[in-house]
């Protein structure tokens, strides 16, 4: 009967879908197993989730090594090098977040099983997002990654600050989705398709100057500006980051933000590449504002999580810089795309590392004040050195990974070469100096200030946190010394040739 109605079963490549299937199966197992496990055995769930992610990562690497590509459902779902590199990033980030949260979740008095289930759901949305090349798929993936994130932000549900974090994130998140969706409806109306490839052809051809398409592109970009917390759409981020549990904050500021950027990369570079006259100036303003405002407000923060929140807003500004300069010539399109992808990969490692140190220190001090880091060197020299490495990497000091991320951004600016691009490059350079002040001031407190309460008992770091620290510092230092590795990944993961 279906065949009679003209229905064709879509031809799915299940091998190419293996990472998604493994993550989906794992989250189903975690949800059901949670019902049957005693409280003493709930730790099993974090192991199951972790192994699930590793298996999915194995399939991702295997697909990449074989050079397996697939295009499904008429081009709405594409597995290519870009998708695989980003899927790998999301799975590794998810694994590190699991390592960070294992003890935190076990020692809190809240539900464990649901925590892992929600993290996996959100990760599934991100993994799907990497392959989504259609407005509907992008929308569904974005909601799949956002809805569990709203709940995770309010996971400490008897804490009013966590409730507030969740509510603020939710209200601004759904507002952003609605604005973005309205933009999508306008673009659909004038291009006649939801496929990004078709939209790309249409915006380069017949409908180039329809004013409503301009409005549509504007709305879609505004919607994603909320998701990646770009100024002036950032105001939810510091409150949500402070109120949410710290591992969730790390997850939101790295994985969720990267999810937004992945969608933006695909929409801009495939769908709207012909309309850089609309999004070029927009991203210029967003990037300049995001870097400057994020850094200036970060200067006067006294809470380390809020400081990292504003720092991650400023970092989003650097990732937006390549978008602003991409439109000027074909060479700059390519180097801008690579710069954004490389920055996302490096940012994930250094930001997760910094958050892991904050969690490890807070296990002893029970405080988020920067002052509570005073004299850290006297009783936790290892953590102090690691935190210094992560902070200086975020500041962009060579020979750490963060320096290469910024060099890629500046190369994109130079490849573009227009005067407005150079102006933005100068804004970025000034901001790198401002950022150094607050990163260095945290380092100064750790190395030079006295211990605030005189308690010098050493910090016992659980094995899972040690593993998370080891992985992130390895990436930050290894890329710093051998950047070709990631430059290669960035080139491989290009949607523009």
């Amino acid at each position: 009967m279906l065949a009679a109605a003209g229905f064709h079963v879509p031809n799915l490549d299940y091998h190419a879908l293996a990472p998604e299937i493994v993550v989906a199966a794992t989250l189903a197992v975690v949800l059901v197993a949670d019902l049957f496990l005693d409280d003493d055995n709930k730790w099993l769930l974090s192991n199951v989730s972790g192994w699930g992610l590793l298996v999915a990562l194995f399939f991702t690497i295997e697909l990449g090594a074989r050079g397996h590509t697939a295009s499904m459902v008429g081009g709405a779902y594409v597995v290519d090098d870009f998708a695989l590199v980003l899927k790998g990033l999301f799975l590794v980030v998810g694994y590190i977040v699991l390592l960070m949260s294992a003890n935190y979740v076990e020692e809190g008095d809240y539900y464990e099983g649901e925590f892992y289930f929600l993290i996996l759901c959100s990760l599934l949305g991100m993994v799907v997002m990497s392959s989504a090349r259609d407005l509907i798929t992008i929308f569904v993936a974005l909601e799949t990654l956002s809805l569990p994130a709203y709940m995770l932000a309010g996971w400490r549900k008897r804490d009013l600050r966590s409730n507030e974090a969740s509510l603020k994130y939710y209200l601004l998140g759904v507002l952003a989705s609605a604005v973005m969706l309205y933009g999508m409806s306008l673009v659909f109306g004038f291009s006649g398709s939801t496929l990004l490839v078709d939209i790309g052809k249409a915006t380069q051809g017949t409908i180039t100057h329809a004013p409503l398409v301009t409005v549509g592109i504007f709305f879609i970009a505004v919607g994603f500006a909320f998701k990646v917390s770009a100024v002036p759409f950032h105001f939810w981020a510091p409150d949500t980051y402070e109120g949410a549990p710290t591992p969730v904050t790390a997850f939101l500021s790295v994985a969720s933000k990267t999810g937004g950027f992945v969608a933006l990369l695909q929409i801009i570079y495939i769908g709207f590449i012909g309309r850089s006259d609309v999004w070029g100036p927009m991203f210029w303003a967003l990037a300049a504002l995001t870097m400057t405002v994020g850094n200036l407000i970060a200067l006067r923060q006294t809470n380390i999580v809020r400081l990292l929140a504003y720092s991650s807003i400023a970092q989003a500004g650097y990732i937006l810089v390549p978008f602003a300069v991409a439109g000027s010539n074909t060479k700059s399109i390519h180097s801008a795309f690579t710069a954004s992808v490389v920055y996302l990969l490096i940012y994930a490692a250094m930001n997760l590392g910094a958050f892991t140190v904050v969690i490890a220190v807070a296990r002893k001090t029970r405080s988020g004040d920067i002052a509570s880091f005073g004299g850290l060197y006297e009783y936790a020299p290892g953590l102090t050195v690691l935190m210094t490495v992560f902070l200086f990497s975020l500041a962009g000091i060579p020979p750490l990974a963060g320096a290469w991320a910024k060099i890629f951004v500046f190369r994109a600016v130079l490849d573009s070469g227009t005067s407005s691009a150079v102006a933005l490059g100068i804004v970025a350079a000034v901001n790198a100096v401002i950022a150094l002040f607050y990163y260095a001031s945290v380092a100064r407190v750790m190395w030079m200030s006295p211990v605030p309460d005189g308690d010098r008992t050493p910090i016992r770091i659980p094995a899972t946190l040690q593993a998370a620290l080891g992985l992130t510092v390895l990436v930050v230092v290894a890329i710093g010394i051998y950047p070709q590795l990631f430059a290669h990944l960035g080139d491989v993961a290009s949607l523009v040739r």
Binding site: L135, I136, F139, V140, E143, L147, Y150, M151, G154, K157, R158, L160, R161, N163, E164, A165, S166, L167, K168, Y170, L171, V174, L175, S177, A178, V179, L181, Y182, M184, S185, L186, F188, G189, G192, S193, T194, F235, P238, D239, E242, G243
Partner: protein, 101 residues
């Protein structure tokens, strides 16, 4: 007599603006939820109108996805509200201001 598509698009735009302004102006969280629904339904109306004008079923399919996602969003939102109501009476956005923006 048929009503031209532009009228539906204008209606949808008005609904969307009403919803957006309501979300930003109203302070009762439940009313804010309703405003979000208004915005999403304005989007649905736009999609359906364009689907009719272009004679393309794709625009109508989008509406099903939006409806399902909107339902899931409301469930999550109400869950958050219930968590807040248990701690305090009333759901006014201005009262929920422990964290300085």
């Amino acid at each position: 007599m048929t009503v031209p598509g532009a009228w539906f698009l204008t209606l949808a735009a008005i609904l969307f603006v009403v919803g957006a302004v309501g979300l930003l102006v109203r302070r009762n969280v439940l009313v804010m939820f309703m405003c979000v629904e208004l915005m999403l339904n304005a989007v649905n109306l736009t999609f359906v109108t364009f689907a009719r004008m272009l004679d393309d079923i794709g625009g109508q399919v989008v509406v099903f996805f939006v409806l399902v996602v909107a339902a899931a969003e409301v469930v999550v939102g109400l869950g958050i509200i219930v968590a807040i109501f248990r701690r305090r009476a009333g759901a006014t956005a201005d009262d929920i201001s422990l964290l300085r923006g």
